[in-house]
């Protein structure tokens, strides 16, 4: 029994959240039961991901290949569990659990009714299952279907609050996300017709043999995939849906959307670029330079937009646009250090942005004020929420001993190694701009005049969730240890360095 579970662990990691998502609606009114079940399943899920990561860390070399139903590739569908998938599973499960804990007992006042609150859990689990699938699958069409499942759940998460602005943001998001997936499917179509395979490994081999026959078609496939995932991952200037969607969703939903969902698409793009086209083709078609350039533009533009916002959640949403720029920049650096930095930054941004959105959300629900200028003196009344916000802000800016620093340091090393001094300057400039839009919030909160209204920190589950995330920011910054090791192995795996 135990051995059959451990040997089929990858499948269980995808199926368990999906299965629970589909049985929750049968007892949707018993919210307490749903909450308990979701938190315990998320915890088991995290343990599974940790176990998977420990197996991967112990054995060096080839990734584990799991054939679904016993059919061998290229006829069957494969799951490939390498360092990259294990790393990403850790990120997904590690962020979902605090968000699920945060939602306990807190959602009803924000979304309206108990049934709506349990619908949130259904969507959270669907999104989690789809992202786990995106991390583990080795099949192009599977990736498309899972991307669609993820993006529909994201749109539904935005529209869960019955507010006209939320519906409007969700519709905009849905239309643009579907536009993106049409591009992705088109790209997959080109890859399939060029190579005749949907399995990433086989497609990669075939692609590298035949690309010289029809370079234009390869170029079109690359562009389609770039635009598609660019829209979905909110790469500037394709980010137009993000600020509305992320600032109108309920608090835990915006944490999961900004922290995780966007990263899922970046992971898929990473797999498409490195596992399907391969580093050699990326260089041939100058994709590395394009990605670095797009990343640099996104860092500067996103930060400037964030500076000009007075609404707290919108400022955080635009800050996500800037951080996505760092990830695309790291994707294009194409060396071991740059990719390690990019992956580590992805993990640390997932933790930091969830912490920021959750603490900002609890401040907004407690005070009812959305504007930054209204938050004077909040740090004295809500010490835990604002404390976590401060720790996460320092992490995002990249102060040493906080997790953002490690990622940014490796990105800097990577850009020096590839001889791109401009990228290094932009990385530092991005940090400065990040300080410029986050530190004023902290200054107002701690040194502003204290107003009279009585607000206090949220209840126990919310405090626990916030403290877990703040602790994660510090731990990843001080002792990155095995997470960094896993990231650097994943980078080596992507670049095919043995």
């Amino acid at each position: 029994m135990i051995s059959s579970i451990t040997s089929n662990l990858p499948v269980f990691l995808i199926i368990i959240p999906l299965f629970l998502a589909f049985i929750i609606p049968t007892f949707a009114r018993r919210l307490k039961l749903v909450e308990g079940l979701v938190i315990s399943i998320e915890f088991i899920w995290l343990l599974g991901a940790v176990y998977l990561a420990s197996i991967i860390l112990k054995q060096s070399g080839q990734p584990i290949i799991y054939s679904m139903g016993g059919w061998q590739a290229p006829w069957g569908i494969e799951l490939k569990i390498g360092s990259l998938s294990a790393f990403f599973m850790l990120v997904i499960t590690g962020v979902s659990l605090p968000v699920a804990i945060f939602s306990k007992g807190n959602l009803v006042q924000e979304v309206g009714s108990k049934e709506r609150a349990s619908r949130f859990y259904v969507l959270l689990l669907l999104l989690g299952g789809a992202m786990a699938g995106m991390a583990l699958t080795n099949d192009l069409f599977n990736t498309y279907v899972l991307v669609e499942v993820a993006s529909i759940s994201c749109c539904a998460l935005v529209s869960i609050r019955k507010h006209p602005r939320a519906s409007e943001a969700a519709f905009k998001y849905l239309i643009l996300a579907t536009l993106g997936s049409a591009f992705i499917l088109g790209g997959i179509g080109y890859i399939f017709m060029l190579t005749g395979y949907l399995n990433m490994g086989f497609a990669n081999i075939a692609m590298n043999q035949i690309w010289q026959n029809s370079p234009n078609a390869v170029w079109i496939a690359m562009t389609f995939v770039f635009i598609g995932f660019g829209v979905k991952a909110a790469l500037f200037p394709l980010h137009v849906w993000l600020p509305d969607a992320h600032s109108n969703a309920p608090t835990p939903a915006s944490a999961i959307l900004s922290g995780l969902a966007v990263k899922g698409y970046i992971l898929c793009y990473l797999k498409f670029m490195y596992d399907v086209f391969g580093p050699n083709l990326m260089m041939q078609f100058n994709m590395d330079k394009i990605l670095v350039l797009a990343g640099m533009i996104a860092i500067i533009a996103g930060s400037l937009f964030a500076l000009s916002q007075d609404e707290l959640k919108r400022r955080l949403a635009y800050s996500t646009v800037a951080q996505i720029g760092y990830l695309f920049l790291g994707l294009g650096l194409m060396n071991q250090k740059g990719l390690t930095g990019m992956l580590f930054y992805l993990a640390s941004h997932a933790v930091i942005k969830s912490a920021l959105f959750l603490s900002a959300g609890s401040i907004i629900t407690a005070t009812g004020k959305k504007k930054i200028s209204d938050l004077a003196g909040i740090g004295k009344k809500m010490p835990i929420s604002m404390g976590v916000f401060t720790i996460a802000s320092l992490g995002l800016i990249g102060i040493p001993l906080f997790s953002g620093f490690v990622g940014k340091w490796y990105l800097l090393l990577g850009s020096f190694e590839s001889g791109n001094t401009l990228a290094a300057i932009i990385i530092i400039l991005g940090s400065v701009l990040c300080a410029a839009y986050l530190l004023p919030i902290i200054r107002i909160a701690y040194f502003g005049e204290v107003s009279d209204d009585k607000v206090k920190d949220p209840a126990l589950p919310q405090k626990i969730a916030l403290l877990i995330l703040a602790l994660a920011v510090l731990v990843l910054g001080i002792i990155p240890g095995s997470v960094l090791e896993l990231a650097s192995r994943a980078a080596a795996e992507l670049l095919m360095i043995q």
Binding site: F141, Y144, V145, E148, I152, C155, A156, S159, K162, P164, R165, S167, E168, A170, F171, L174, I175, T178, L179, S181, A182, L185, G186, G189, F192, M193, L198
Partner: protein, 127 residues
């Protein structure tokens, strides 16, 4: 130029797919009516389906099944058609969800024109 046209004519499924894709994208970007945006999305997705199915089709190929012990020299590739069944299911669910959202927007704003909705929302925020 003549060769280009010949190529476009011979590969007519792809030509149609590209045309439909552009038409769909144009509708999504240009039309303010939410229903029309949704129709545009559907046209775009259909164009991708045509591209896939066209890619699997071989002129003169037989149905990929051995019937009565007779085998053919050419078979149509059934995989893209099977994939597109899944694609159609995905596009139907997106459409259903989008229609529900349009219904909700119509109930709260009384219009399906996106320009008017933006205008009304900005006025509400200005107050």
């Amino acid at each position: 130029m003549k060769i280009l046209f010949e190529k476009l004519l011979i590969n007519y499924p792809y030509t149609i797919a590209v045309l439909l894709f552009s038409i769909g994208a144009l509708i999504v970007v240009n039309k303010p009516n939410l229903f029309k945006k949704l129709i545009g999305i559907n046209i775009m997705e259909s164009s991708i389906f045509i591209m896939f199915v066209g890619g699997g089709y071989i002129r003169g190929g037989a149905v990929p099944a051995i019937e009565g012990g007779k085998s053919h020299s050419l078979y149509i590739n059934p995989l893209p058609s099977a994939l597109m069944l899944t694609g159609i299911v995905v596009s139907v669910s997106v459409t259903a969800f989008a229609l529900a959202l349009i219904f909700r927007l119509y109930k709260s704003y009384g219009t399906v024109d996106s320009n008017k909705i933006v205008k009304m929302r900005n006025e509400a925020m200005g107050e």
